[in-house]
């Protein structure tokens, strides 16, 4: 197996430009000192409360997402190449969503099978004909990108529903600046702390039309027992908007209101961090207590804006993913700037045949899975695991997609024995309202087990500070 491309050392032919200063610095550090810094970082995180309770866990203490103190660094040039592709993708995805909830031209043109969209559980028929402000469905998108060589980047996944992790991006930077101020003096790192500002501007730009005052914005959280709660309260705090739960909201006089100490107060834009299913018990899941009865009708009437819009999940469905190059071509008239990973849709007989024949070489994922659960990493799996997965595949082929295992790039990471390479990905966060706004860098997720390709925090992955160097 060929060695992976290392972000710092390339293919072993010398330290790459963006890492020069850091490599020098690392060379002067003792392992024990670095480990001590790591303990400091974790204490800071705990004090700030960037912790979460794991669902179904017996532990009394809350968990931290492991943080690695060695930053992942991109040059200004590398970043610029990514941003063009990211922006193209975000516009195309939203154009796709507008189309399939209106005239469905792309289906009529035969570029996507109809049932893949209409029969998709992420497709929300109640959104047909809705007119979201600016025609945007997904205002906040997290695009998962991996790298396999100096110049090859692939989009692994688009997260168009309720992507999370942006608070880690900001807090990681805070922590690094607190612990290593001298590193920031020596490297010109683009700031990320303006994200909440951009988010607020984005939310304001999609307020319902005809409002004769400043829009009132609220952030809807399922509550403090949700594993992403810290991020919800962090963003609300940074933007200066109210953090609400379902029972704080009520529909009155044809508008959404929150229950304040002075009585009901109107809300114009709701940034919701709960799934579509739980938004409105009168329309979706009737047993939901996280949402607001009547909210969806208000939304259809244009009396309140919901971010991201209901039904935006159709664009981040893994079955649709393989059609994204087609989607980009259809709506922009241009070839995709950023590549997709070659994907086999097991609902197609030919693709299924290929996947079954090559299970040991492929990564097979559930179409509706997330968090790295329910997937098979062929090269790392035992014969029994492969056999068990084969059975699942044959039983429900339409539930799976297969992709070649990519040799994800690695980056030096502080582990028990010292500094060692670990695989990582990158999740830039994109905001789309009156303009496309991109945080410089994003969240880097790193697999902490040697050789592991699974970076999800729910499976033990960690995060790194991501630097985009300025020219």
């Amino acid at each position: 197996m060929t060695a992976a491309f290392d972000e710092m050392n390339g293919m072993g032919d010398g330290v790459r430009m963006p890492y020069q200063a850091i490599a020098e610095w690392l060379g002067t550090q003792k392992l024990d000192d670095l480990k001590q810094k790591l303990v400091e970082a974790e204490t800071l995180f705990r004090r700030t409360g960037i912790t979460f309770a794991v669902y179904g866990s017996q532990e009394a203490a809350e968990r931290l997402i492991p943080f690695d103190i060695i930053p992942r660094i991109l040059s200004a040039h590398e970043w610029r190449r990514l941003t063009g592709g990211i922006e193209q993708r975000v516009r195309a995805l939203n154009a796709f969503m507008y189309d399939i909830y209106h005239r469905q031209e792309i289906i009529k043109a035969g570029r996507i099978p109809e049932e893949l969209v209409i029969a998709n559980s992420a497709f929300v028929p109640e959104m047909i004909g809705a007119e979201p402000p600016l025609g945007i469905y997904s205002h906040i998108i997290g695009i998962d990108i991996v790298r396999t060589s100096e110049n090859d980047f692939f989009v692994l996944e688009d997260n168009t529903r309720t992507p999370s992790g942006v608070s880690y991006m900001i807090e990681n930077r805070e922590t690094m600046m607190h612990m290593f101020p001298d590193l920031f003096a020596k490297n010109r790192v683009a700031p990320v702390e303006n994200y909440p500002d951009h988010l607020l501007k984005t939310l304001e730009s999609v307020a319902p039309k005809g409002l004769d005052r400043e829009p009132t914005i609220a952030l809807l959280t399922p509550g403090q027992y949700n594993s992403a709660y810290f991020e919800h309260s962090f963003l609300a705090d940074q933007m200066g908007v109210e953090l609400v739960e379902g029972h704080d909201l009520v529909v009155l006089d044809g508008a959404l209101h929150m229950k304040t100490t002075q009585g009901p107060r109107q809300v114009d834009v709701l940034y919701r961090r709960i799934d579509d299913d739980f938004l409105d018990p009168l329309v979706f899941r009737p047993d939901s207590v996280l949402g607001v009865p009547g909210l969806f009708d208000l939304y259809r009437a244009g009396r309140v804006t919901i971010v991201n819009a209901p039904g935006a999940g159709i664009a981040d469905d893994k079955a649709i993913y393989s059609y994204i190059p087609e989607i980009i071509k259809f709506y922009t008239g241009n070839a995709p700037i950023l590549q997709n990973v070659p994907t086999y849709n097991c609902r197609n007989k030919d693709d299924l045949g290929y996947v079954l024949d090559n299970l040991a070489k492929l990564v097979v994922k559930e179409v509706h899975g997330s968090g790295g659960y329910g997937m098979l990493v062929g090269p790392a799996a035992s014969r029994d695991e492969i056999a068990a997965f084969r059975a699942k595949l044959e039983a429900q082929p339409e539930n799976y997609i297969g992709q070649p295992t990519l040799a994800l790039s690695t980056c030096p990471t502080l582990v028990e024995t010292g500094v060692a390479p670990r695989h990582l990905d990158l999740r830039p966060f994109v905001l789309y309202g009156d303009r496309v706004r991109l945080a410089s860098g994003g969240l880097t997720r790193v697999a902490l087990k040697p050789g592991s390709l699974v970076v999800n925090s729910s499976q033990g992955g960690g995060t790194k500070d991501t630097w985009v160097l300025q020219d």
Partner: protein, 316 residues
């Protein structure tokens, strides 16, 4: 702010105050438990008073048959089923703080979170006789840290006003209960009887509200039961007196009225109580009955809490 936010801030303040008061009560009870035994059941009775002052008697006796120092202290410090235990209070305060992160300043949050984390590391088994005073001191210092962070950093808006209401309603309730549980020790007739036991009791009452030394600065004489009652009910300078608490409560309610532009039933109730205390005379209170006065006060204090919750939509 959301009604739920006001509710959470009010109760957060109450829990922090409650934790501090509990630590003080335990300290007093423990101190008496260290005194030479004076007749069978003497120390038992002291713990009985402690439990009554803390409103924990029923809960304790549902779990334990006998009163032992170890069991009472464990119940008041660590028992998760006791909603007023120090552990429960610190957890609830932290939980409310987490739910209302956006309303707290960083210093306030870190003091709550830090206290909860540290207390989680203290195990009942580790609380020996020599450890106990240190732990109780620690609880009081954490409460002071939170209060200090709040007073130093919070914006003087509704966040502050609701927090103040929580602190002072809880404090008033606490002082009143301590007095009421031992009211019979404060009756004027006892001054004649005097004696070592009563002096210990009077000292205990004053210690429970951190007033055993300040009393002498104010009154320049030995403990006299009716002076103690006056000190803790009517004295304006004493920060834990019922009068002081209601002065703060009235200010906070006035400021809320100024901020929101409306007055409610709670304003009238608080105003009436404040006036009664400002014009109060300890002799008249004894004449109509100290116990009756305190019972009435506690009940009106509770009612004020409900009225505040209703007026400001705590549970809309």
């Amino acid at each position: 702010m959301l009604g739920r936010t006001a509710n959470d801030l009010y109760w957060l303040a109450r829990y922090v105050e409650r934790a501090e008061n509990m630590a003080r009560l335990i300290e007093v009870g423990y101190r008496i438990a260290l005194l030479p035994r004076n007749g069978a059941g003497y120390h038992d009775e002291e713990w009985r008073s402690t439990l009554a002052s803390a409103g924990c008697a029923q809960g304790y006796f549902a779990k334990h048959e006998a009163l032992t120092t170890r069991d009472v202290i464990n119940y008041l410090l660590f028992d998760c089923n006791n909603s007023s235990s120090v552990k429960a209070c610190l957890s609830a305060a932290r939980c409310n703080g987490r739910a209302q992160r956006t309303a707290l300043t960083r210093d306030m949050w870190e003091s709550l979170n830090g206290a909860w984390i540290e207390f989680g590391n203290i195990k009942p088994v580790g609380v020996t006789a020599s450890e106990l005073p240190r732990i109780l001191d620690w609880v009081r210092s954490r409460s002071a840290l939170y209060r200090g962070a709040l007073l130093n950093t919070i914006l003087r808006n509704d966040t502050f006003f609701f927090s103040q209401l929580g602190t002072f309603l809880e404090r008033a309730d606490n002082t009143a209960r301590i007095l009421d549980v031992k009211y019979y020790v404060l009756l004027p007739e006892l001054e004649m009887v005097g004696g070592g036991v009563d002096n210990v009791q009077w000292g205990a009452i004053l210690r429970s509200v951190s007033a055993h030394r300040s009393y002498r600065w104010v009154y320049k004489q030995n403990y006299k039961p009716w002076r103690i009652a006056e000190y803790l009910i009517l004295n304006q300078a004493m920060p834990r007196s019922l009068r002081s608490c209601y002065d703060e409560i009235a200010v906070a309610l006035d400021q809320l009225a100024g901020l929101y532009g409306d007055r409610f039933a709670c304003h009238d109730t608080a105003g009436a109580t404040q006036k009664t205390l400002a014009n109060g005379d300890i002799n008249r209170i004894f004449q109509s009955g100290l116990h009756e006065f305190l019972e009435d006060f506690i009940s009106r204090n509770n009612r004020l809490g409900s009225e505040i919750a209703e007026s400001y939509h705590f549970n809309a």
